[in-house]
């Protein structure tokens, strides 16, 4: 066992020395390799952080949201609907919600107008999301006017700007008083956008949803867990598409690795020939070369991954944000909570180290089977 360790140490020593002797050649490969890891790791870390962000947001959402459908389209909840539901066992609280979208031609973006549950916004004032405040240059006590869909101009005073934390959801949010909301959107009195229900026992959620859809056939219950699933698969899907697009680069990299490994310089060939002649066995040379591949992989993986970590969590992923984040025009500017996931590291490993090692196996073997007497024949 001891001899085995000593041998591996000597092989590593040798391969390290020979890597350093051919710095230029190996640095090029290392740079490409690390870049590949960097790009893939950035995409994956970013998608994962977004997934978590979405999960955090949904955590605060109601367990069930009930929408009314007319001809299969989302419609307003008419007055008296809430009462028709009556008491449902297991439902802790049930209330109508008011919210809507507003397109602002000034910044060419959509805002979400929302009446908070306690209607705690004073009449004539607004609380706005940070991205919006940034775009329109708003701060506390600035006045702002919006032209409603009916053409009328409404003026408000900004009472507060929402905090930065979890900006993804609140970036384009505008909190508004109920009366203002109804006046601004010409929303019929007594109508609501949808109904939120909170359910204490998660096991009950499904049963309650089934009960509700039986009781109100014109309504559609949306479950929070379904939303979570949808979000998760949405981000997974985007990440997957991104990786599929990048797979071309993985392939290109594998070809490069193959090329590099098989296109040994005359110098390297001679070196392997000498090693074989002075008593190294084919297996020893293969092991030495595998160590070399392993060391290059490890270095590139670490460099690329650390780079990606900094890129995503320190600098906000400027390279990938537009692709992965969302469709809103107002991009949230926020620091993602750093998360590293074992599965992701393992997946990344399979996308980078695995193709590399697979690509260099045959060239390594080819180099290693040089005849021991080759150096004497030339």
């Amino acid at each position: 066992m001891n001899a085995w360790f000593t041998k591996q140490r000597r092989l590593i020593d040798f391969t390290l020395a020979s890597l350093l002797r051919r710095k230029g050649r190996n640095l090029g490969l290392l740079a490409v390799y690390a870049l590949l890891v960097f790009v893939l790791a950035s995409a994956m870390l970013y998608a994962h952080a977004l997934r978590r962000e979405a999960a955090i947001i949904l955590e605060g959402a109601p367990e069930v949201v009930l929408q009314r459908l007319v001809a299969g389209r989302h419609d307003l909840i008419p007055p008296g609907h809430l009462e028709r539901i009556g008491r449902v066992r297991g439902v802790q609280e049930m209330r109508g919600r008011l919210w809507g979208y507003y397109y602002d031609p000034v910044v060419k973006a959509n805002y979400t107008f929302l009446v908070p549950p306690d209607n705690g916004i004073a009449k004539g004032t607004l609380v706005v999301g940070p991205a919006l405040a940034r775009e329109r240059g708003m701060s506390e006590n600035t006045g702002i006017s919006f032209r409603s869909y009916s053409g009328e101009l409404f003026s408000f005073v900004v009472a507060d700007v929402l905090p930065q934390a979890s900006e993804l959801a609140s970036a384009d949010l505008v909190l508004i008083n109920e009366e203002d909301f109804r006046a601004f959107f010409a929303y019929p009195a007594g109508h609501y956008t949808d109904i939120a229900l909170s359910v204490a026992n998660p096991a009950e959620v499904r049963n309650i949803a089934i009960k509700l859809s039986k009781q109100l056939p014109d309504s559609r219950p949306i479950l929070r867990e379904e939303m979570q699933r949808t979000y998760a698969s949405l981000f997974d899907w985007r990440e997957g598409i991104m990786l599929a697009l990048l797979s071309a680069s993985i392939l290109a990299f594998a070809i490069l690795a193959w090329e590099k490994a098989s296109g040994l310089s005359a110098d390297e060939k001679r070196e392997i020939g000498i090693l074989k002649a002075i008593g190294w066995e084919t297996g020893d040379v293969i092991k030495m070369k595998l160590w070399e591949g392993g060391l290059i992989s490890l270095t590139a993986f670490l460099l690329g991954f650390v780079g990606a970590y900094l890129h995503v969590f320190k600098f906000g992923a400027p390279l990938f944000a537009p692709v992965l984040k969302g469709w809103a025009v107002l991009y949230p500017r926020f620091d993602l909570v750093p998360v590293i996931d074992g599965l992701q590291v393992a997946t990344l490993f399979f996308f980078t180290v695995f193709p590399y090692m697979a690509a260099v196996l045959v060239p390594i073997w080819r180099a290693a089977v040089t005849d021991p007497d080759a150096v004497m024949r030339s």
Binding site: R229, S233, F351, W365, V369
Partner: protein, 332 residues
């Protein structure tokens, strides 16, 4: 099909393994047909050089399968949030009937590869390479096995539908479920513990006996496989309960999660290593009377058996520590 990085990675890994073995297959045939160790012809030298490539490939495929096994379980666990009723890997694997077969096939390939490598190891220690033909015929068997893993994984992933209601580990491994997994969970702790420790003790004793006396090599493999099954059953029946400190949580995968401090790895790493070595020790036994292997096989299989014995011992000790340290009381 759910388009997801880890799934793509798994399929990639399996596909590359299959492609490598498939590319090697014609050469394996050539070796079986044309091998002649006594010849010094260039063709023979060429064939001998190829054997280096194949053993490297086999090691690579085995390492890939082991890593892919981990990734498979990891991924199943993470995907659980996408399926109604799935709380962990078990639920995800139950989304369609291909999940568990794919997992088991992957484990089987890993152990098959371990056996092949043991045979390869002894063969390369005899100057006349007596097992070359057997080895490469066996490699041709490994190919369909790896292909089967790929096929099962493809079936599994292609048939994943996010809206399927599945059972989670709570229902699969709960006492009132019919079927093997339910039976494992329904084992009451005392008989389960007896079975668990007895089979581990037998496997340990057999392996230790072989390591000492070099006799009973086949039994090492047999008792190792039995101990592996018993160990998994034991983890489901009672070790996991102690780890989760919950009298009804029987899942063998959740213990791999960070929430439980990755304690599962302490159990699975020695268990898999021990079983692989035990199988390796058994795999070389049919050849122990081959003239040139008479002095090669006994020390190798003794050594493998010694590692297996140590692995089972460590596994049993760690499981015991988990049980003793736990706050859960199942047995008064």
């Amino acid at each position: 099909m759910i388009f997801q990085p880890a799934i793509i990675a798994l399929l990639l890994a399996s596909a590359v393994s299959v492609a490598m073995l498939a590319a090697a297959a014609p050469f394996a045939f050539q070796i079986i047909r044309q091998w002649d160790i006594s010849s010094g012809s260039e063709r023979q030298l060429q064939l001998e050089r190829r054997t280096y490539l194949f053993s490297t490939l086999a090691v690579f495929v085995m390492a890939t399968q082991l890593l892919a096994l981990l990734l498979f379980v990891f991924n199943a666990d993470k995907m659980s949030e996408m399926f109604v009723g799935a709380m962990c890997a078990v639920g995800t694997l139950n989304v369609n009937p291909w999940g568990f077969p794919a997992l088991i096939a992957q484990m089987a390939v890993f152990f098959l590869a371990a056996g092949w490598l043991a045979v390869n190891h002894v063969d390369t220690r005899a100057p006349d390479y007596p097992l070359v033909r057997i080895k490469y015929a066996a490699m041709l068997v490994l190919l369909p096995a790896v292909a089967a893993v790929l096929w099962l994984q493809l079936q599994y992933f292609l048939n994943l539908r996010a809206d399927v209601i599945t059972s989670c580990c709570g229902s699969l491994f709960s006492e009132d479920t019919k079927g093997l997994t339910g039976d494992m969970a329904a084992l009451s702790p005392v008989p389960a513990m007896i079975g668990f420790y007895t089979s581990l003790a037998i496997a340990f004793a057999t392996a230790a006996f072989h390591a000492q006396t070099k006799r009973g090599g086949y039994w090492v493999a047999a008792t190792s496989i039995a101990a592996f099954v018993a160990a998994i059953a034991g983890i489901i029946a009672f070790v996991s309960l102690y780890l989760y400190e919950h009298p009804h949580h029987h899942c063998p995968f959740c213990i791999l999660k960070p929430e439980y401090d990755w304690q599962g790895y302490w159990l699975y790493v020695p268990l898999f290593a021990a079983t692989a070595c035990g199988i390796g020790a058994g795999a070389v036994q049919p050849f122990r009377n081959v003239e040139s292997l008479k002095n090669v096989i006994p020390p190798v299989s003794a050594r493998l058996a010694a590692i297996a014995a140590a692995g089972f011992l460590i596994f049993a000790l760690i499981a015991t520590v988990f049980v003793v340290r736990s706050n859960l009381i199942l047995v008064e």
